[in-house]
């Protein structure tokens, strides 16, 4: 009898800190504890926005990315706290250290969330639930913060699971429950489904994972393009995206949040000029050339867009970078906008051999 080779399921944990910035402020300043606080811009003056709201504030309906003015209306007693990013970074680093006790396969998504692959853990614990519990305990006892964890066989389900019992939650969706879980999932919870796609899906009478599952792969691709293939797989519990530990720099860039919102294109151009000089310096210091140039624009309401362009050859000169970002800026709305932040970054460092351009090692001497 032939024995089927079954690939063992992976064990993925998604750890998401609870109201990260706000919790740190409440930890460090006892006077904020038990009170509705908002980390972000103040409601006076320039249009401040909520970065994180404490759970006490959330009870009043205060949410991230909401204008601070609105937060104040919803909850007049809310305390506004100016963010201390350096502190959050430091804490994030300590959390990373806790993760590293169990695995090196850590993919940080931001300061406050990360995927861990614990299929094989360093301590030989074997149980992902046990590991997640230990991590949560360590975060709690060492950093006096709480985290929520989701555990499953892939990134997609783990991430949704971590959000299910917040705060201080732990949710395990085992292999046998994955399909059922996804079928019940409302479409807007799917990775990559934003407001627009969700509306479109609902218009097509697709409300849950089960509805999506009824469609053929070709139909999904027809309606949603490349993402369609991803939905097709994911709705069947197939998500093979690996947990990618961040090794070398994937991008080099520079960005600046301005003391006041820029409304004038000429001002944006001046800022981009400054940024491109900075980026070029950083690139040259690290001896890197990127094939992709990305322009990032964040508006006064914290909405953010990126526009990028890729080249055949690596770029590290100011002229090309500036020329490109300016033309990328043209592709964005520049009239009647308030720009809070501008950023330029270069990525795609490893030369892909397109057109079979020979990439020769440095020790090959040249003629000219």
């Amino acid at each position: 009898m032939e024995e089927a080779i079954v690939k063992p399921f992976r064990k993925i944990i998604h750890v998401d800190m609870d109201a990260f910035y706000a919790s740190i402020e409440q930890r460090d300043f006892p006077e904020y504890r038990g009170k509705p606080i908002v980390v972000g811009g103040s409601p006076e003056g320039r249009g401040g926005v909520v970065a994180t709201a404490s759970y006490e504030a959330r009870k009043f309906g205060v949410r991230s990315a909401m204008p601070s003015k609105k937060a104040k209306q919803l909850c007049p007693q809310v305390i506004f706290v100016y963010p201390r990013f350096a502190v959050y970074k430091e804490v994030s680093y300590k959390i990373r250290e806790i993760f590293q006790r169990y695995t090196d396969l850590i993919e940080p998504l931001s300061l406050d969330e990360a995927y861990l692959d614990v299929t094989e853990d360093k301590l030989g614990i074997g149980s992902a639930i046990e590991i997640a519990t230990q991590i949560k305990d360590a975060i709690n006892s060492e950093l006096q913060l709480t985290a929520s964890a989701g555990i499953s066989i892939n990134k997609f389900v783990a991430k949704i699971a971590s959000d299910m019992n917040k705060p201080n939650g732990l949710t395990f969706i085992g292999p046998s429950r994955v399909e059922n879980f996804i079928e019940k999932l409302p479409v807007e919870k799917f990775f990559g489904v934003g407001k627009v796609t969700a509306e479109k899906m609902k218009g097509m009478n697709l409300h849950t994972g089960a509805d999506l599952k009824k469609l053929k792969e070709t139909e999904l691709i027809k309606h949603f393009g490349k993402a369609g293939r991803f939905y097709y797989k994911i709705v069947r519990g197939e998500d093979n995206r690996p947990v990618k530990p961040d090794r070398e720099a994937k991008s080099v860039g520079a960005e600046d949040t301005f003391p006041y919102d820029l409304t004038d294109v000429e001002e944006m151009v001046i800022q981009l000029k400054k940024l491109s000089v900075l980026v070029v310096n950083r690139l040259q210091k690290q001896e890197l050339k990127g094939r992709t140039i990305t322009l990032k624009v964040k508006y006064h309401d914290f909405k953010q867009i990126t526009r990028s362009r890729s080249f055949l050859n690596g770029i590290d000169d100011e002229e090309t970078i500036l020329e490109t970002v300016l033309s990328l800026l043209q592709q964005t709305e520049t009239e009647n906008v308030k720009v809070r932040l501008l950023g330029i970054s270069l990525s795609n460092f490893n030369d892909v051999k397109i057109n079979s351009i020979q990439e020769l090692p440095n020790d090959q001497l040249t003629l000219f």
């Binding site: 351009i357 020769l360 020790d363 090959q364 001497l365 040249t366 003629l367 000219f368």
Partner: protein, 374 residues
């Protein structure tokens, strides 16, 4: 308009110029052949905007007219037809093309001929005549050394310097260089142009096997080649060519003479064991012995061979990219070659020992720095 032509004859003529047509042209009409009929003569043009090729053939017709015909469908049809006279019947108001053969009728839709880009004319500012044999020799000897780095456009073509005493063809990719000189081609008004690789490849493919004169007319922006019933017009590369004479060493004191095929086959074997990205091989010349070795540390592969050679000057140990040397040895027509060097970080020069009195060929290759010289 209507004409009758032998299917095999038409296929042969079209195949000669079909190489110009790219699969995804800038303007869609360039997927067509332009047919221009007048007084029993059919002129067919294919173009990619940079290069255009034109052929002329005799057909049976008294009519006059123009049409653009989809190249791929037409060629496929002709390839699959047994040789026979075929009739083309074209409705110039609807651009519909009908091909009538003994086997049946095939209808395809053409396009308006006036949409086909105009082929530039070359007022013959300068001209030269070269035999097709010499031309193809010059192209074959140089084209392999051109660069495909679009960031340095000058090096993506072959530099041709027509002088009063001789004509020089140069190709380089910045790591190696070939200079091919003919004493039997001269021009009264010396001039230099850079011909793009694609045009030369097309020329190479279409030059007939029997020897015939190729006339070249050119100005600063275009060159116009004519041989038999084929014309080719190409846009020239308008860039400054690197100062190649300066990099050719005037004195290389270390000289090794060796059989071309012996060295070539040894290098082919040794390079199997070399690192797959660097193709680095080590040449060590001591006394009258050449030792070639290579290793790939990642796979613990290594190989070495000893060959006897004639050697003048000091002993030397030098690294090269085996691919470069192999390509050069493949393109040099001689039993014995001479490799001259001066230092492990200076250019090596390969010269044929026997040569035609009318030609002078020099191939130069920059070494690879070895991390250890024993």
């Amino acid at each position: 308009m209507k004409f009758i032509v032998n299917s095999a004859y038409l296929l042969k003529q079209l195949s000669n110029i079909n190489g110009v047509i790219t699969t995804n042209p800038v303007v869609p009409i360039l997927e067509n052949f332009l047919f221009e009929l007048e007084k029993g003569s059919l002129t067919v043009t294919a173009s990619d905007l940079q290069t255009s090729m034109i052929t002329e053939l005799q057909v049976e017709s008294k009519e006059k007219g123009n049409i653009a015909v989809p190249a791929k469908i037409l060629l496929e049809t002709l390839k699959n037809l047994p040789e026979q006279p075929v009739t083309f019947s074209i409705d110039e108001s609807t651009y519909s093309v009908e091909i009538i053969s003994d086997n049946g009728r095939y209808k395809l839709s053409g396009e308006n001929a006036t949409d086909f880009p105009k082929v530039p004319t070359v007022s013959n500012d300068f001209s030269a005549e070269i035999s097709s044999e010499v031309m193809s020799r010059a192209v074959n000897n140089t084209i392999f050394a051109t660069s495909n780095d679009e960031l340095r456009p000058a090096m993506t073509g072959v530099y041709v310097n027509l002088g009063e005493k001789n004509t020089t063809f140069v190709a380089t990719d910045g790591h190696r260089l070939v200079r091919y000189r003919r004493n039997d081609i001269t021009s009264d008004n010396g001039n230099a142009i850079i011909i793009p690789r694609k045009a030369l490849n097309l020329l190479k493919a279409t030059l007939p096997s029997e020897n015939m004169p190729v006339s070249i007319d050119f100005n600063m922006s275009n060159a116009y080649f004519k041989f038999g019933n084929i014309k080719m017009i190409c846009r020239l590369i308008d860039e400054r060519y690197p100062d190649y004479e300066n990099v050719i060493p005037s004195v290389n004191n270390i000289k090794m003479t060796i059989g071309r095929t012996d060295l070539l086959s040894a290098l082919r074997r040794i390079s199997i064991y070399a690192n797959k990205t660097t193709h680095q091989v080590r040449l060590k010349i001591t006394g009258s012995e050449l030792q070639i070795s290579a290793e790939d540390l990642d796979f613990s592969n290594e190989a070495n061979e000893r060959l006897s050679c004639e050697h003048e000057g000091e002993d030397i140990e030098i690294g090269f990219n085996a691919k470069f040397i192999i390509e050069m040895l493949n393109n040099i027509d001689t039993d014995q070659i001479k490799l001259t060097m001066s230092a492990p970080n200076k250019a090596g020069v390969i010269l044929p020992v026997e040569k035609d009195k009318n030609e002078d060929i020099l191939m130069l290759v920059m070494p690879v720095m070895l991390n250890q010289y024993v």
